[in-house]
C-alpha cells in the first residue's frame, strides 16, 4: 500500500511532521495500528539502520529518523495497547554506574526500537539496583549495558552477579558493548553476547531471542 511506503520514506528522511500527518491519515483510512507500525514506521527505521550498517548514512541521521518514528508511534500507541500488540521483546538498557557516556547506548536503543523491540532506557550512570528493578518490573528479555571507560566496565560483572544472586540470570539475556569491551571480556564476566557496534547489537539481540 502506498501510504506504508510514504510513512517509511518520511521516517527515513526524519520528517517528523509528515510522519505524524501520514500516520493519522492511515488511521482515518481504518488501517490498523499494528500494520502502520510494522509496515510503515519500522520499515523506515529498518532502511536507515541498514544504511547505517553499510556506512551510507551518518549517526545523527539515525537519531533524526528515530524522532520521526517516535512521533508516529505516539499517535498509534494507545491503539497498540488496546489491540494488545506484542513487541519483538523487551530490552532494559543503560550505561553502568560511574559512566556518563551514553551516545553508543542511545544509538543502540534507537536501532532496537526501530527493529520493533520495546526499550526501557534507564539512562546513564545506572546502579545495579536500578537495572535489577527494571528487569523485574518490566519482565525484560534482555539487559544491555554499555561502558566507555576501562574503570567503569568492571561494574558490568557486578550487575551480572546480582542477577545471579536474585535468581534472574537464566531468565534474562545479557549483552554488553562500548569502546573498551571485547568478546573475551564478555565471555570472562559471563555475558551472553558482545556487539562491536550499534548495528551488530540489533542482530545480536535478534539472535539471542530466536
Amino acid at each position: 500500500m502506498e501510504i506504508f511506503k510514504d510513512i517509511a520514506d518520511e521516517v527515513e528522511k526524519g520528517h517528523s511532521d509528515t510522519v505524524k500527518e501520514l500516520t493519522e491519515r492511515a488511521l482515518s483510512q481504518d488501517i490498523s495500528a499494528e500494520e502502520i507500525l510494522y509496515k510503515g514506521l519500522v520499515v523506515g527505521m529498518e532502511i536507515i539502520s541498514e544504511k547505517f550498517k553499510n556506512n551510507e548514512c551518518f549517526i545523527p541521521e539515525v537519531l533524526v529518523a528515530a524522532k520521526a518514528m517516535n512521533i508516529g508511534l505516539e499517535v498509534i500507541k494507545p491503539l497498540l495497547a488496546e489491540a494488545n500488540v506484542k513487541s519483538q521483546g523487551k530490552v532494559v538498557m543503560g550505561t553502568v554506574k560511574g559512566d556518563l557516556h551514553d551516545i553508543g547506548k542511545n544509538i543502540v536503543a534507537m536501532l532496537l526500537q526501530g527493529a520493533g523491540f520495546e526499550v526501557i532506557d534507564c539512562g546513564a550512570d545506572v546502579p545495579k539496583e536500578k537495572f535489577l528493578e527494571a528487569v523485574k518490573s518490566e519482565q525484560a528479555d534482555v539487559i544491555g549495558m554499555s561502558a566507555l571507560l576501562t574503570t567503569t566496565m568492571l561494574y558490568m560483572k557486578e550487575v551480572i552477579e546480582m542477577l545471579k544472586s536474585e535468581g534472574l540470570r537464566e531468565k534474562v539475556k545479557v549483552i554488553i558493548g562500548g569502546a573498551p569491551i571485547t568478546k573475551s571480556y564478555a565471555e570472562t564476566i559471563g555475558a551472553d553476547g558482545y556487539a562491536p557496534d550499534a548495528a551488530s547489537a540489533v542482530d545480536l539481540t535478534k539472535g539471542l531471542l530466536k
Partner: protein, 319 residues
C-alpha cells in the same frame, strides 16, 4: 613522515562543515602514521598532523555537518556544557583529581567551561572569559586577551587531560564604526573524526557570546570574524580506519564515497533545521530533556540554560 618531522597542514574554508571535510581529507591523505596512547595493539597507527584550520564565516550556512558521533540533542547539551557550565557539577573535587589515575572517583577531572570560567589557582577561582571581555572592551587591540585550561599541577597525572589549551581573541575595526571579533583556539591534541566538529560548534557559540558581551560593554556593533583552530596533534585514530576505508568486499562504502554520493547540501544541515532538535530531539536529548533529567544542576546554570532555551524558541535566533 620524512626525517621524523610531523606534517604541518593548513585548511581554509568559508563554513564549518566545509572545513571539517577538508581537514579529514588532508589528515587522511597527508598525515603521518604515529601511534597514540589510545591506539590498541591491534589497531593501525593513527594519522596525525599539526593543523591550522581557518573558518572564515563560522555562522554561515550550512553550519552543521551530518557526520559526528552523537545526535543533534546531544550536541546541544555539549554546547551548554562548554558555554554555560551544564556539567561543571560532574567535575570531581580537587583532592580526588590530585590522586591522578589512582582515583576511584569516575567523575570528570575538568570541563572546558570550568577551566575557562572558574580556573582554580592557589586559593583563587578566576573567570578568565570575563577578564578577556573586560580587557577587549577597554582596548580591543590588546594581544593579551586569552584564557587557558592547562593546570600543571592537576593535569599531568591524569589519564585524560584537556585537549583545548587556550582561547585567544582580538578586536579589529570594521571600518564602519564597529568591531570584528577574531578568535583563535589552540589544542594540544584532537580527535578530528569524532570530536572536532562538536568542539567547533561549541567554541564558535562561545565566540558569539564573547562578542555579544563586548558589544554590550562598548555599545558598538561587534561582528564575528574568522575562527582559527590550531591543533598540535590533529588525528584520526587507527580504530576508525575501518569506518573510513569501508569494506568493498562487503559492499560497505568508505567515508569519502559516502560524502561523494551526496551533494554538500545533502550532507549538511542549516541552523533552521537543527534548532528544534537542539530544543528537544525527541529521543531524550536537547535542552528541554536535559533540564528535566539533570535535577542536580545548580540553579544558576539552570537559569542560564532556560534563558538560552527561550532565545532558541524565538525565530530570529540561530543555533
Amino acid at each position: 613522515m620524512e626525517s621524523g618531522n610531523i606534517p604541518i597542514l593548513a585548511v581554509n574554508e568559508d563554513t564549518i562543515p566545509a572545513a571539517y571535510e577538508k581537514a579529514i581529507r588532508e589528515v587522511w591523505e597527508n598525515g603521518a602514521s604515529i601511534r597514540t596512547e589510545y591506539d590498541r595493539p591491534e589497531d593501525p597507527a593513527s594519522k596525525d598532523a599539526t593543523v591550522i584550520i581557518t573558518v572564515r564565516e563560522p555562522f554561515s550556512q550550512p553550519r552543521f555537518h551530518r557526520s559526528f558521533a552523537d545526535g543533534l540533542g546531544g550536541l546541544a547539551e555539549y554546547v551548554m556544557e562548554v558555554v554555560h557550565g551544564a556539567h561543571d557539577y560532574w567535575v570531581k573535587p580537587m583532592e580526588e583529581i590530585l590522586k591522578g589515575t589512582q582515583s576511584k572517583d569516575t567523575r570528570w577531572t575538568y570541563t572546558y567551561h570550568e577551566r575557562l570560567f572558574e580556573y582554580r589557582i592557589e586559593d583563587e577561582v578566576i573567570n578568565q572569559i570575563s577578564l578577556m571581555i573586560d580587557r577587549l572592551s577597554r582596548a580591543g587591540h590588546t594581544r593579551r586577551a586569552q584564557a587557558i585550561t592547562w593546570n600543571p599541577k592537576l593535569d599531568p597525572p591524569t589519564d585524560d587531560p584537556p585537549c583545548l589549551q587556550r582561547v585567544w581573541g582580538r578586536l579589529c575595526d570594521d571600518g564602519e564604526g564597529g568591531y570584528v571579533f577574531n578568535m583563535n583556539t589552540h589544542w594540544r591534541s584532537r580527535d578530528l573524526f569524532k570530536a572536532w566538529f562538536e568542539n567547533v560548534i561549541a567554541l564558535t557559540t562561545l565566540m558569539r557570546k564573547i562578542a555579544e558581551e563586548i558589544s554590550k560593554g562598548t555599545k558598538k556593533q561587534v561582528r564575528l570574524g574568522r575562527y582559527v583552530d590550531i591543533s598540535d596533534s590533529l588525528h584520526i585514530y587507527g580504530s576508525y580506519f575501518r569506518e573510513i576505508e569501508g569494506d568493498p568486499e562487503k559492499g560497505i562504502k568508505s567515508f569519502f564515497e559516502k560524502l561523494e554520493s551526496r551533494s554538500f547540501q545533502e550532507r549538511t544541515w542549516d541552523s533552521d533545521f537543527v534548532k528544534p532538535y537542539f530544543i528537544d530531539d525527541g529521543v531524550g536529548k536537547g535542552l528541554k530533556p536535559m533540564l528535566e533529567r539533570e535535577k542536580e544542576m545548580p540553579e544558576k546554570v539552570r537559569k542560564a540554560i532556560e534563558k538560552e532555551l527561550r532565545l532558541m524558541e524565538k525565530d530570529d535566533y540561530e543555533v
